[in-house]
Symmetry: C2
Subunit: 129 residues, 2 copies
């Protein structure tokens, strides 16, 4: 997929710059600065094509609405802040999950999600304190 219009370019660039999973709404807000008047429908349209082209990944985790982020090539997992609801990519993985599979089962992939409080929301280090 080639990015032709101003809107498409803005959406992808902003997503790439943010460099973390964001909701379509968040993306609309951020990309609207570059592309005033941008509509949510366009954000969804472009995201859909980018996902199909495998340039963007849709991330669905329990407890938070779907997020999108630029496709990353390296194996990673996620951290969800229970306070601000932000998602952060985590690098690193303990691995060795296959041994937990029941007999006869095959594993093609796995996901690890850590829940907790991020630095910004922590009472000791947070921006609010």
């Amino acid at each position: 997929m080639q990015l032709k219009t101003t809107q498409q370019t803005s959406i992808f660039r902003v997503l790439d710059t943010l460099n973390r999973p964001v909701t379509p709404q968040e993306l609309l807000g951020a990309a609207s600065i570059e592309s005033p008047g941008l509509g949510l429908a366009t954000v969804y349209r472009v995201l859909k094509k980018l996902v199909e082209a495998d340039r963007v990944q849709k991330i669905e985790l329990a407890g938070v609405p779907p997020h999108y982020e630029v496709q990353s090539d390296k194996h990673h997992h996620f951290f969800v802040c229970e306070d601000c609801q932000r998602i952060l990519e985590i690098t690193g993985c303990p691995g060795g999950f296959k041994k937990f599979l029941p007999e006869g089962f095959t594993m093609t992939s796995h996901e690890v999600i850590l829940y907790g409080i991020c630095r910004d929301c922590s009472p000791l280090t947070g921006k609010e304190n």
Copy 2:
């Protein structure tokens, strides 16, 4: 929460008997055998109360609709069959996730989801073969 009516009893008993995460629709189908005419609204009503009473857990995993299962006291994770979409509880956990947390972050819980093909859907051992 005490189970008073036939419907409530059936819903909980069937859920307990199935002993795996199921969708409200699946539960409706199974419990309808014991309680003919059972309605989906009642299934949701009872599930909601059971969840509030901590006797049932709502399980939300990416790619599949919400499932419900009787509360289990032991730490566990899930396996999602990419073919039949069934969810299976997995016991065991590698642990040691905290070391992947960025500085200043706190972890309160974690989730591990294994995706793959279950035994029944496997071409070698599946029931269809």
